[in-house]
Symmetry: C2
Subunit: 206 residues, 2 copies
């Protein structure tokens, strides 16, 4: 595999997903480059033209010239051909089902509230942002309820083994309390979080 | 392949993606079941318990008992092992990069504005929804600008051939004018839309 460099804001759950996937697979990142998103360091002309035109982190740099944005794509690249991604066609699609679910129905709520409540202070939010908190709370709780129900009869999300879908969902789930979510009402999610943290190669977010 | 049934709201771009992928591949859907999302038909107890706990369409039913939500996952399932999905590890990840980009950075803006402006009427929107229109317009235009720049030197999004990433992005792009977007300022996007519409097996959204 070519040298891998992670362009990241290390506090971000989306960046952590890539580090956790790599660590579980025993893949070494050659370097990690930190950008302060609060200071707009991923919106500079240099970053937009070279690293990611979308101005977001994370980006996985593969070799000299290849820059792969989107945490799900980077995790899939690392996991492809390993035991974190099934070879069965349906199971591969089910892994993606949960990864798309995470990005569409969970991260915009749990990730945003964590960022607002743990990284910024309430005073600095706009009125519109403040007013959107109850709806984001409701949507995040709805996603956690779906995950909890799914995990009530399973150890992992797909194929009864650890896959990159678990990694993708774990990143923002286990730190959801930092965004004001109460995981104690989702006991199957809590047990699954503990299961992930016991995996060989596990690394914590910080 | 087992029998395939598409649970859909056929006007939705996310549902169209699956029909277009299947049609380009010459895969026949055994049935299409229509749900009126405006009437809450995907939020009934039956739908939530049997088809999709997340209460969304589309869902691709595979055989009797397997229900696959998330348009990206369903398209990937159909495309896996075909010429719409590269076999190269990096190219597969790049296909997903654009599919995640579409769901996170484009569809929530272009898809929502199309729904609001073409399917509901302005009067029926809440004050909060109305006030969010300029920001959604800005974000949708930003995504189109990224796509336009990427396509300025390419025929297709990945690997210089048609992939399921093109299908995923095409669905809401070619109907973006229904949400008030002006595609004439994105000529490379327009040319790419015309290219897609000329592909063998192409079907229109309606």
């Amino acid at each position: 595999m070519p040298d891998l460099i992670l362009h990241e804001y290390s506090w971000s759950g989306n960046c952590y997903k890539i580090r956790l996937t790599a660590s579980l697979l025993g893949i070494k990142l050659k370097d990690r480059l930190e950008y302060d998103v609060l200071k707009g360091e991923t919106r500079t002309p240099e970053y937009l033209s070279k690293v990611n035109a979308n101005g977001r982190i994370p980006v996985l740099q593969i070799g000299e010239d290849t820059f792969l944005p989107e945490s799900g794509a980077a995790c899939h690249y690392l996991a492809d051909g390993t035991n974190l991604l099934p070879t069965d066609r349906l199971q591969r699609a089910q892994v993606l089902q949960w990864m798309f679910f995470e990005q569409y129905s969970f991260e915009p709520y749990a990730g945003t509230l964590r960022f607002w409540l743990a990284k910024r202070d309430l005073e600095s939010l706009s009125q519109e942002q403040k007013e959107s908190i109850p709806e984001k709370r409701k949507q995040g709780d709805a996603a956690l309820a779906i995950m909890n129900e799914h995990l009530s009869t399973r150890m992992f999300f797909v194929a009864e083994k650890l896959t990159v879908a678990d990694v993708a969902l774990y990143a923002y789930t286990h730190v959801a309390p930092e965004g004001g979510f109460d995981l104690s009402i989702f006991p199957h999610v809590q047990a699954w979080c503990e299961r992930i943290a016991r995996q060989p190669g596990y690394v914590a977010v910080n």
